[in-house]
């Protein structure tokens, strides 16, 4: 290790609560959990001395030492496997993928080992697997992934993705305390977005896994979404309000298991629904939600269920291409307008 020789640098302990961006909120959450529970530890590439590619784990190694903040080789399989093993020993690993795109190299161990262990012989794997996801930041086909759909068909994995600093902190804490494996996706576009900066409570709190949130109430139409698209949905809703359209927006927050109650209640109220997500449309989580609605809210629907999502291509790099790839606020506005008129 180069600790002995590295340039003087030590990041201070973050505040408990106070104004925080999303990245600060996640860091607070991990930090507090590591203080609270000695079994919590961090593992991943460059998470130690460097504090992680996005600085989520900045400062932790100075505080907790390199036994609890482990810089690994470039081995996503080993990261997942080692997290599983440590979890079996009663530890609570928080494993980072430098970009969520690299989760594909840990896919085997996640879907076969982490997901199935409890079912097979009762051994829970209380591990968190987290990392930056999402497109819209000109990072091209290999640093822009939204990975949730890879994992929806594998029983045994919980999946969360926050869209606010408050939820980010509450969900990372809930994920760490959860007795089962949780995939925790962080949209990199939101990490430092000033719009998301908010005052966090100083007290310990969690946001329960499995609970969606109605982030905007409305009567005419429901937009079901999560992650960075929550902002797109809210922007669209605001614009539509000017036209007299009252849009409800649901932030799923947990992608598996889905909060059916909240989703169904909203759609039964509005009878019109747009599902909005950032991953490509085909095979995305939108299908699962549409299926839920077309079965369990069938009688309440007054119009087709609309999925708005990215086009069915890899994520292109060049701004005009990526902008075309991603659903934009104007696309949501236009679809909502037509859906309301349907």
């Amino acid at each position: 290790m180069s600790t002995a020789v590295k340039k003087e640098h030590r990041s201070a302990r973050p505040e408990r609560g106070g104004p925080a961006t999303m990245v600060e909120a996640i860091r607070q959450g991990i930090w507090e959990e590591m203080e609270r529970d000695p079994t919590v530890f961090v593992i991943g590439e460059d998470v130690g001395a460097f504090g992680g590619a996005f600085k989520v784990t900045d400062g932790l190694i100075d505080e907790f030492g390199k036994e609890r903040v482990i810089d690994t080789p470039i081995s996503e399989g080993a990261i997942v496997g080692a997290a599983c093993g440590a979890a079996l020993m009663g530890m609570r690993p928080v494993a980072e993928f430098q970009f969520i795109d690299f989760i594909s190299a840990g896919f085997d161990l996640l879907t076969n080992y982490a997901a199935k262990c409890r079912y097979r012989w009762g051994a829970g794997i209380p591990a968190v697997f987290r990392g930056p996801c999402g497109s819209g930041v000109r990072s091209g086909p290999f640093h822009s992934l939204n990975a949730e759909a890879f994992f929806l068909n594998t029983a045994g994995l919980k999946i969360v993705e926050p869209s606010t600093a408050y939820d980010a902190k509450g969900l990372i804490k809930a994920a760490i305390r959860d007795p089962d494996p949780v995939l925790y996706f962080e949209h990199k576009k939101l990490y430092r977005l000033p719009r998301l900066r908010e005052d966090l409570p100083a007290d310990d709190y969690i946001v329960e896994i499995g609970k969606a949130k109605v982030v905007r109430e409305g009567r005419d139409l429901t937009i079901i979404t999560f992650g960075a698209m929550v902002l797109t949905a809210l922007d669209a809703a605001e614009e539509l309000e000017k036209e007299g359209l009252d849009v409800e927006v649901i932030d799923l927050r947990t992608l598996a298991p889905l909060d059916k109650a909240t989703i169904l209640a909203s759609v039964k109220k509005t009878s019109r629904v747009i599902i909005l997500h950032e991953a490509s449309r085909t095979g995305g989580i939108g299908g699962e939600i549409a299926a839920l609605l077309s079965e369990e809210a069938f009688e309440w629907l007054d119009a087709p269920i609309i999925r708005l999502a990215s086009i069915d291509t890899p994520v292109p790099y060049s701004p005009p291409l990526e902008d075309y790839y991603l659903p934009q606020t104007k696309d949501v506005v236009s679809a909502a307008r037509k859906l309301a008129a349907y």
């Binding site: 290790m1 180069s2 002995a4 020789v5 000695p38 079994t39 530890f41 593992i43 036994e67 609890r68 482990i70 690994t72 080789p73 081995s75 996503e76 399989g77 080993a78 990261i79 997942v80 496997g81 080692a82 997290a83 599983c84 093993g85 440590a86 979890a87 079996l88 020993m89 009663g90 530890m91 690993p93 085997d108 161990l109 076969n112 080992y113 199935k116 409890r118 079912y119 097979r120 012989w121 009762g122 051994a123 829970g124 029983a155 045994g156 919980k158 007795p179 089962d180 079965e295 369990e296 069938f298």
Partner: protein, 388 residues
């Protein structure tokens, strides 16, 4: 063999560039392969037995014998059940390679962990898993340790230091690395043993897991079983190395080659490596040379095997025969003592088998429980909207 743990990092001899940074420990360009217990040529007329150099007491030797026999007889019983169509899945034999699993696992302490391959039943038994659990698993019974959810040795017992594998070869190596990371934070001075085949070493997971353990100097012992086949594939199509032990060099760790059909040698080598690892030396690779006399599973016709090969190994290099000869020659026991052990083992197996047979199959609805802590999943074939 340079096997003393060197905790201090070594001076570089490589020029100014290298001096600019710390270098990991380890000598340059030296393969640290010990062959002290490697297989040797049987001398004319004198059949193979086991190594002389051992610290094992007579009692322990007899216990080893018991486990060897237990392994073989449990498997024979399984084949029996299989022929009676009582086994639900396949039966995978370790016939002819039992000494590797038994001898290596016997060198461990109670708190130590193992993760076996399907052909390491012997190690599972040594770690204290009862034959009844094995029988119940194979027959997919409710009383089995996975309640019929998974097969053969796919289960675990944290208390006994047993972590059953999953099918995906290689994946258990990083998992064991994690076990040791956990143990280190808990200040437990344990070692972990992961078994891997000549085939399984070709997986990426093996590489990532062992490399990470080596970098972290974790006390992981990898037992590489050179049994000449991966399913039908000869070892020469898995690796261009002659010996699996050579792979240790790529991880900066020492290795041993041991005669995998010499149960005493397997014990000694593992004991030595475990001591080294426990003292802080880090990971060690042990290659056990053995031979898979049965097909991959019971259904395999072994068409790819050279004509007289199996017979040669059966006749000249059976691990149980070798150890029996050894015990008798060394006067550790007389034949009647050995016979007595076999009868005891046979009785125990019958009892356990009967117990397992008497278990019911699980009830179907049990499938819905426990994906998550305390969870029950709804029946997917009974849509709520139609049930109203």
């Amino acid at each position: 063999m340079a096997e003393q743990p060197t905790k201090t990092s070594r001076k570089s001899e490589q020029g100014a560039h290298a001096k600019r940074r710390d270098r990991p420990p380890g000598p340059r360009f030296e393969m640290r392969i010990s062959t002290k217990y490697a297989p040797h040529e049987p001398s004319e007329g004198k059949p193979l037995t086991c190594t002389d150099e051992t610290s094992l007491k007579p009692d322990q030797l007899l216990e080893l014998y018991r486990y060897l026999k237990l392994t073989r007889l449990v498997e024979e019983r399984l084949v029996n059940l299989y022929r009676q169509t009582k086994v639900v899945g396949g039966v995978f034999r370790s016939l002819g390679q039992e000494a590797t699993a038994v001898g290596t696992a016997y060198a461990l302490q109670p708190g130590d962990f193992i993760t076996p391959l399907i052909r390491d039943l012997g190690a599972v038994l040594v770690k204290g898993i009862r034959p009844r659990d094995i029988f119940a698993q194979y027959m997919a019974k409710a009383w089995g340790p996975s309640g019929g959810r998974d097969l053969n040795i796919h289960f675990g017992d944290m208390g006994k230091g047993f972590i059953g594998p999953i099918s995906h070869l290689g994946d258990m190596i990083p998992v064991m690395t994690g076990i040791l990371i956990g143990a280190r934070m808990q200040k437990k001075e344990i070692v972990a043993v992961a078994y891997i085949g000549d085939g399984g070493m070709s997986t990426g997971a093996f590489h990532e897991g062992l490399n990470f353990a080596a970098v972290q100097r974790l006390p992981l012992l990898v037992i590489a079983e050179y049994n000449h086949f991966a399913y039908s594939t000869p070892t020469s199509l898995q690796t261009a190395c002659r010996d699996l032990a050579e792979k240790a060099a790529g991880y900066g760790i020492p290795s041993h080659i041991v005669d995998g059909n010499d149960v005493v040698a397997c014990y000694e080598v593992t004991k030595h490596a475990a001591d080294y690892a426990r003292r802080g030396g880090g990971a060690v690779l042990i290659e056990a040379k053995t031979y898979r006399r049965k097909g991959h599973a019971e259904h395999d016709d072994q068409r790819y095997v050279a004509p007289d090969e199996i017979e040669w190994w059966e006749k000249h290099n059976d691990p149980v025969d070798r150890f029996e000869k050894y015990l008798l020659e060394k006067n550790v026991a007389k034949q009647d003592k050995l016979d007595e052990i076999v009868s005891e083992v046979t009785r125990a197996i019958e009892e356990d088998c009967a117990w397992a047979e008497s278990s019911p199959l699980p009830e179907g609805e049990k499938a819905a429980y426990g994906v998550f802590d305390n969870s029950i999943v709804p029946p997917a074939f009974r849509p709520p909207v139609l049930e109203k």
